[in-house]
């Protein structure tokens, strides 16, 4: 999880802020304009980092919202009078946010490469809307003749024509935006976004509607880019279709990556460095001055002229060198010197008074369930009942349809035919997050925790899933009961207290599998679907987790797939044997062991020598 900024980072940012506050006292008009521009671009790129670095959505069409924000100033400005900033800014934010809602509702359906391309295409669509038509001057762009003013009635509070006032406004806007994002990523909402970045399927299986979360952040980020855009239009009083185009989007990505995605302050530094490098490369005199440090004056002048003449090529080489040499960007360097992040101390939770009453868990009924992939029938008319507070094992050869079976139960796949009922309510065909919210939690064959988060943070996300609305911005609401659920889950799953606050990636394989179970407990699931929870465990770990499963059955129903025959025959109350998608047998371990058909199809020689 994104940690609080390290002291070194705060130092860098405070130094920059102090410099900016002082700039109007010694800087000229050009410096103020240049700095305002960088700060506005800064707002734009940190809004993009919210998508790229925090949520893992690489948007290649973010300039669409920046450009729309800019155009909204043109739309709202009278021909030869000033627009009121109190109207212009909300209008820009609303317009960008509204378009982001429409575009996002389609784009967020896709992932990875597709998302990159789809956002790119929508950005281009916006670009051509202005480029190919006569709206706002078409290809040539349009001028905003008078800069906006902020006024209430006849009282003028702030005029953007005043460079210094505009500069300080931009600075305040940037500081506000930065702090807003810093707060946002630490709210329950922001934590889920980071979880989605690292493991979307897991978040969905915990009960979060990841589509809603991603759409929400897409709109927030778009609205913020619109805010940057309206300020940008006020710098030069000129808007052109290029502002929405893919080059602007690409440049914003450049700055995010150059600065270091996912750190928020990094992209800001990226915007500063990028703008300065670009400005330097464009200027023959500055280049000559730099080159003359290492070569004769005449050569320096000649070379400076050549580079400045083809500055965008030089910029290209600079970017390539930067990405190859520093994949984690400028922030990567700073983090190297900043030391390990400090994590918040967990609150003290008193252990539960004593052993609780055995809680009634949920019952799962499967009726004639069939799932086909094209012509291939992976699950074929399975009918079985899993009564509450028991451990139910599912066994069968690979390719028998076991994983498909539980994927249908958990909502990851839709049934082709048949019913799945949880406590008499139909859940077949519902989305995973809806199934999860009804109390069915699942784990995966491959360990599926959020590796960069600590065990406690993983469980906290899971606990948060009991109230999975995306609009959770308060850190205190329900925090106490969630902290308690986390502490209990960690204890119940047998994760040692001194292991709870280290990153999941540093836990042993067995601990990670236990953490998965802890997450399910914390999420409040009453029925646990576990896909090979013992895979890859050594014998003591196997013994420990098997005992844990037995304990959990006190207030959960457990359905698990397992290949470790010794363990499952010891742990399960009932066994279900699937072969080629069909239910071959269902019964107690003893019945299954003696079943001739099961021996024939699956067990073979196994267990012959085992005692009855």
């Amino acid at each position: 999880m994104l940690s609080t900024p390290r002291p070194l980072v705060i130092l860098v940012l405070v130094a920059l802020l102090a410099y900016a506050l002082a700039l109007p006292f010694f800087g000229g008009t050009f410096a103020l304009k240049f700095a305002s521009r960088i700060m506005i671009i800064g707002i734009f790129v940190i809004s993009l980092d919210l998508l790229i670095g925090i949520t893992g959505m690489v948007s290649f069409g973010h300039a669409l919202y920046f450009g729309l924000g800019a155009y909204s100033l043109y739309f709202i400005s009278p021909e030869s009078a000033a627009a009121n900033g109190f109207l212009a800014i909300p209008f820009a934010i609303l317009l960008a946010g509204a378009v982001a809602l429409v575009v996002g509702s389609v784009a967020v359906l896709t992932k990875g490469f597709y998302f990159i391309m789809v956002t790119l295409a929508f950005g281009q669509m916006g670009f051509s809307l202005f480029f190919d038509t006569k709206i706002a001057g078409g290809t040539d762009g349009a001028y905003i003749n008078v800069r906006p003013v902020f006024s209430i009635g006849s009282q003028q509070l702030l005029n953007f024509s005043n460079r210094t006032a505009f500069f300080y406004f931009c600075l305040a806007a940037l500081v506000f935006s930065y702090l807003l994002l810093l707060w946002l990523v630490r709210t329950p909402f922001g934590r889920v976004l980071q979880g989605i970045h690292h493991n979307e399927a897991r978040m969905s299986a915990l009960g979060f509607n990841t589509y809603a979360y991603k759409l929400a952040i897409y709109v927030i980020s778009g609205a913020m880019a619109g805010f940057a855009g309206v300020l940008f239009a006020a710098i030069d009083g000129y808007v052109a279709p290029e502002l929405l185009g893919w080059r602007e989007s690409g440049l914003a990505i450049m700055m995010v990556v150059l600065g270091g995605a996912g750190t928020i302050y990094g992209p800001l530094l990226g915007a500063i460095v990028y703008s300065m490098v670009e400005e330097t490369l464009k200027s023959a005199t500055e280049l000559t001055a730099i080159f003359s440090l290492v070569m004769s004056g005449a050569t320096a002048k000649w070379l400076g002229g050549i580079v400045a003449n083809s500055w965008s090529m030089a910029l290209g080489f600079f970017l390539i060198a930067a990405v190859l040499a520093a994949p984690k960007g400028i922030a990567g360097f700073i983090e190297k010197f900043a030391g390990e992040p400090k994590r918040a101390k967990p609150r003290e939770i008193k252990p539960p008074a004593e052993h609780r009453e055995r809680a009634k868990a949920m019952q799962l009924e499967v009726d004639n369930l069939t799932r086909a992939f094209g012509g291939l029938v992976a699950v074929d008319g399975v009918t079985v009942r899993f009564p509450p507070n028991r451990v139910h094992g599912i066994i069968g050869p690979n390719g028998a349809g076991k994983t498909t079976f539980i994927n249908v139960l958990s909502g990851a796949l839709r049934p082709t035919r048949g019913n799945v009922r949880l406590e008499r309510e139909e859940i077949g065909g519902q989305k995973p997050h809806n199934v999860a919210r009804r109390g069915l939690g699942r784990s995966y064959q491959r360990t599926n925790v959020i590796l960069p988060f600590t065990a406690r943070e993983n469980c906290l996300l899971a606990a948060q899933a009991q109230h999975p609305s995306p609009f959770r911005f308060s850190n205190s609401w329900r925090r106490e009961e969630e902290d308690e659920a986390v502490a209990n889950a960690l204890r119940a799953a047998g994760i040692a207290p001194d292991r709870a606050d280290i990153r999941a990636s540093n836990l042993s394989h067995g601990e990670q599998r236990q953490l998965e179970i802890a997450m399910l407990i914390a999420s409040g699931a009453k029925l646990l679907l576990l896909d090979e929870p013992l895979a890859g465990m050594g014998p003591e770990e196997t013994g420990r987790v098997t005992a844990l499963l037995r304990e959990l059955a006190a207030d959960h129903t457990i359905v698990l797939i397992e290949h470790d025959m010794d363990a499952i025959f010891a742990a399960a109350d009932t066994l279900t044997v699937l072969v080629e998608g069909r239910l071959l047998a269902h019964g107690t371990p003893e019945e299954i062991r003696m079943n001739a058909a099961v021996r024939e199809a699956y067990l073979g020689e196994w267990g012959q020598e085992a005692k009855p």
Binding site: L376, G396, P397, N398, G399, S508, H509, G536, M537, G538, P539, E540, H563, M565, A601, Y602, L603, G604, E605, W606
Partner: protein, 237 residues
């Protein structure tokens, strides 16, 4: 006496910051079958992948039939007679069975093809029946057969089998072992990683155990069977 099929000396392998293999030395004589045992996460798969060239060791040397291949890529080692049947089988789902099999069919260094298509089909009649099916239409057991068959068609002198019977029904497992026996019987050296200790003890000429990235035991099946404490400590059976 000819060169060892595989001779690895003082191999160290890292994944990022974690040190997976710690000074492993490993030798397999031509035609020898060696089991590689140990718990999960002890470095067995990493050792196989390092030998195959899919992971670069940070130090140490690897010789294949006498030739130094430490610096050569996995593809070069494959052409020099090393075949790997990886964990998860590595079937190409969008190629047919016959395309998978003939994908890398090539003669050995002497220009012979000891495992032509007919012989692979004779070993795995199921593959012959399904030769025009796509790779992703096969069951787990059939995929395992296909992966082994495909490896054989590269005419290897040594074959590395990683989790050869993982996820297979006990019955199918016996079938795979009997074909592995035929393969090793034909003179191909083998390193086999698997969870089923008893099956491996019956099959291997020599057994090795890995723990924490090191080889902690190297000896005959009889010696290993006799040392219950060792089995209990490292394999927990």
């Amino acid at each position: 006496m000819s060169q060892p099929a595989i001779l690895a000396e003082n191999i160290d392998t890292h994944y990022g910051r974690s040190h997976i293999l710690r000074g492993v030395s490993f030798r397999v004589a031509p035609g020898e079958t060696v089991s590689l045992l140990g718990r999960n996460g002890m470095g067995k798969t990493t050792l196989l992948r390092t030998l195959a060239g899919l992971v670069r060791p940070t130090s140490g040397s690897i010789r294949l039939n006498g030739a130094d291949v430490t610096a050569s890529r996995a593809s070069a080692r494959s052409r020099a007679g090393l075949a790997i049947v990886p964990e998860g089988r590595g079937i190409f789902p969008n190629l047919t069975v016959i395309e998978n099999l003939t994908f890398a069919a090539r003669p050995n260094s002497k220009g012979e093809r000891p495992w032509p298509l007919e012989r692979v089909y004779a070993l795995f009649p199921r593959l012959a029946e399904r030769k025009h099916h796509w790779g992703n239409e096969l069951s787990g057991g059939e995929q395992q057969m296909l992966s082994i068959g495909r490896a054989l068609m590269t005419s290897p002198s040594i074959i590395l089998l990683d989790e050869a019977t993982e996820g297979l029904a006990p019955k199918l497992r016996d079938e795979i072992w009997s074909t592995v026996k035929q393969i090793t019987g034909s003179g191909i050296a083998a390193i086999i990683v698997d969870k089923n200790l008893n099956d491996l003890l019956a099959l291997a000429d020599r057994n090795t155990i890995m723990a924490k990235g090191e080889i902690v035991f190297d000896g005959s099946s009889a010696a290993l069977r006799a040392d219950e404490a060792l089995i209990h400590r490292h394999l927990g059976v």
